[in-house]
């Protein structure tokens, strides 16, 4: 039957059967009921990236962010602690601070004038006792803290779930790779300026997979950049290396070259920095880092990273780009893109890295422009009745069979996780989907699981 029913146990069961075979029913990508489950079960539960510590320079520094539809005020307190609050006044709920960033001692609501300090405490009530009497307990009307806040290698995360597992457990084996990307240099990484932001017609799962697990698209979608020498010159550059499946829907691809060694040692970072890398990283991490051309991957659900080499003027330069896909519905994302570089890098290299980033990624990026085109193409056709059919009589399923039966995990890969000997596989995409399904179906399929 073509009439859309809401998502129930039976549809979820069928969805699972397909996913287990590497097939993603197209209806599930942009389905509105699925989206509602995602909002609550994924964005309401998982650790969400909010920013980098270098964005909060001194006590009183703040930035405003979003966890899907929840506004977040992220502040550095007088003691240097980083705190996150719901960015909504506790009196009548008005959006408290609409600036993107700034520095303050108190946040005053423009509606009735309640004010809050950096600890989120209510410190000012207009007319105070005269109108609220003696019994008002100010402590009860402080800003609502985001239940969990955590930091790893300068990345600040928060979760709306009081019961969220510790951040370090959540990141799991991804930490080993984050140490390479963020912990290689003394002083860590720094964000330049503020994140670029724009909206795209896209589903957040598809953009996440586009970055986290799909090097296969590079060869066609980004061919122009290879032709022009913006990207490494071998048209298959994105296929060489390994795809690494980590737990919890995290993972990455580490691209090398046809020989298994990158022609860009330490991703073209200056030789003067290499001893520092060797000191800060383990021999295994150094082996991987020194031979990598590109690190590209994702942390579930919607944080992706790219540490490539590109250059608009012929010279290949490395940088780190972090990005989140803030979902604004099943068919729209607000992209937030941060540029980072090693604090310890020479100024001249930092400048080149920034230009290399602007030329390759972000909304004007010569690679990203073509990504936006294909994200939109998925959305444009998503209302099709043939796709909406949950009975799958039209067999409208997306193909996640890349590399199946072709690549077996390699033994002795220097890093943690399950490593496949090519980046052209859907193993990571499937493990992301597995995690996604576990979360959206939580509590809806439990009965069966219990009886098994």
């Amino acid at each position: 039957m073509l009439v859309k029913d809401s998502v129930n146990k039976q549809t979820l069961q069928k969805l699972k059967e397909k996913l287990d075979k590497g097939l993603m029913p197209q209806w599930a990508v942009t389905d509105k009921d699925i989206y509602e489950l995602e909002r609550r079960q994924i964005f309401g539960k998982t650790w969400q990236f909010l920013g980098h510590e270098s964005e909060l320079k001194e006590p009183g520094s703040y930035v405003t962010r979003w966890i899907a539809s929840d506004p977040v005020l992220l502040v550095k307190t007088n003691s240097g602690e980083i705190k996150a609050f719901l960015n909504s006044c506790t009196h009548r709920g008005a959006h408290l601070c609409t600036a993107d960033f700034g520095k303050k001692k108190t946040f005053t609501c423009p509606y009735h004038g309640w004010s809050f300090n950096l600890e989120g405490e209510l410190v000012g009530v207009v007319s105070g006792k005269k109108v609220y009497g003696e019994k008002m307990i100010k402590d009860e009307w402080g800003l609502r803290p985001i239940p969990k806040v955590g930091m790893y290698q300068g990345l600040i995360f928060a979760s709306l779930d009081h019961q969220a597992m510790p951040l370090e457990d959540y990141l799991g084996d991804m930490k080993w790779y984050l140490d390479i990307l963020l912990g290689r240099s003394d002083g860590g990484m720094e964000v330049r300026g503020v994140p670029q932001r724009w909206t795209a017609q896209a589903n957040w799962k598809m953009t996440q997979e586009n970055f986290a697990s799909d090097p296969y698209h590079v060869q066609t979608n980004h061919r122009s950049t290879v032709e022009l020498g913006i990207s490494p010159s071998d048209p298959n550059f994105a296929s060489y290396g390994h795809q690494i499946v980590l737990g919890n829907g995290h993972g990455l691809s580490i691209m090398t070259s046809a020989t298994g060694k990158s022609p860009y040692k330490y991703q073209t970072l200056p030789e003067s920095m290499w001893p520092m890398f060797q000191r800060n990283l383990s021999p295994e991490q150094n082996e991987i880092f020194s031979n990598a051309t590109v690190f590209v991957g994702g942390m579930f659900p919607n944080l992706a990273f790219d540490s490539p080499v590109h250059g608009m003027e012929g010279e290949m330069i490395n940088y780190l780009n972090l990005r989140i896909w803030r979902p604004l519905g099943p068919d729209k994302v607000e992209v937030w893109c941060w540029f980072l570089i090693d604090k310890a890098a020479p100024e001249e290299y930092k400048e080149k890295a920034y230009k290399s980033y602007v030329g390759s990624f972000g909304p004007s990026g010569t690679l990203e422009q073509d990504d936006t085109e294909v994200w939109a193409r998925i959305i444009q056709v998503s209302d099709a009745l043939m796709m909406e059919d949950k009975e799958l009589s039209y067999n409208n399923v997306n193909n996640y069979l890349l590399g199946e039966d072709v690549f077996e995990p390699v033994e002795n890969f220097p890093g943690p996780g399950v490593a496949y000997p090519s980046t052209y596989t859907d193993n990571l995409a499937r493990s992301i989907q597995k995690r996604w399904f576990e979360l959206i179906s939580k509590g809806l399929l439990d009965e069966e699981e219990d009886s098994q």
């Binding site: 061919r223 122009s224 032709e227 030329g359 004007s364 936006t372 085109e373």
Partner: protein, 177 residues
């Protein structure tokens, strides 16, 4: 570049105002008609072409433009790479072609730092139609240019594009502004 102008502006005559206005219209025509190579020829070799980010800040925190991060940070060479890309067979974002219009208004001119240069401020209103989509994308803002006369021809020696939106609602910046 300070663009504070006296009114009425007696610093440039109406003939010059007309010439530079026509030059900017000509530039917009080239861009809207996908004549990117011809557009690139209008730029001086030392062009600085930038598009900083607009942000929301409280007035006490000062400027609402972040100069440190940009959407474009270009030289003549990097713009050449971008232009060449649009002529390859795999610049998918512009193939099929989008339809674009640059509306350039509020052109204000004053003499520049050198005798052959003028500081020119203009407003832009960019509209784009993509594939069969009903919704027209748009972006608005202002530009601060240095327009220079080189061998009797007007050229763009610098451009700073300042968008009004802090979150762009165009799905990419495949255009030049």
């Amino acid at each position: 570049m300070s663009m504070e102008l006296q009114f009425p502006n007696t610093q440039v005559n109406s003939e010059l105002q007309h010439e530079i206005t026509q030059f900017l219209y000509h530039e917009a025509y080239l861009l809207d008609h996908h004549m990117y190579q011809e557009w690139h020829d209008l730029l001086t070799d030392d062009i600085i072409y930038r598009m900083p980010l607009r942000v929301t800040t409280e007035r006490r925190d000062g400027s609402n433009i972040v100069d440190d991060m940009t959407y474009f940070e270009e030289t003549k060479k990097s713009l050449e790479t971008r232009v060449k890309r649009l002529y390859t067979k795999s610049a998918w974002v512009e193939d099929p072609r989008t339809r674009q219009r640059h509306y350039i208004t509020n052109i204000m001119i004053k003499p520049g730092a050198n005798s052959d240069e003028y500081n020119v401020r203009s407003y832009f209103y960019f509209k784009r139609s993509r594939a069969s989509e009903h919704q027209i994308e748009e972006i608005i803002g202002e530009r601060e240019d240095i327009i220079r006369k080189v061998d009797g021809q007007w050229r763009i020696a610098a451009r700073t594009i300042i968008p009004d939106q802090t979150v762009l609602t165009v799905m990419n910046l495949s255009m030049f502004l």
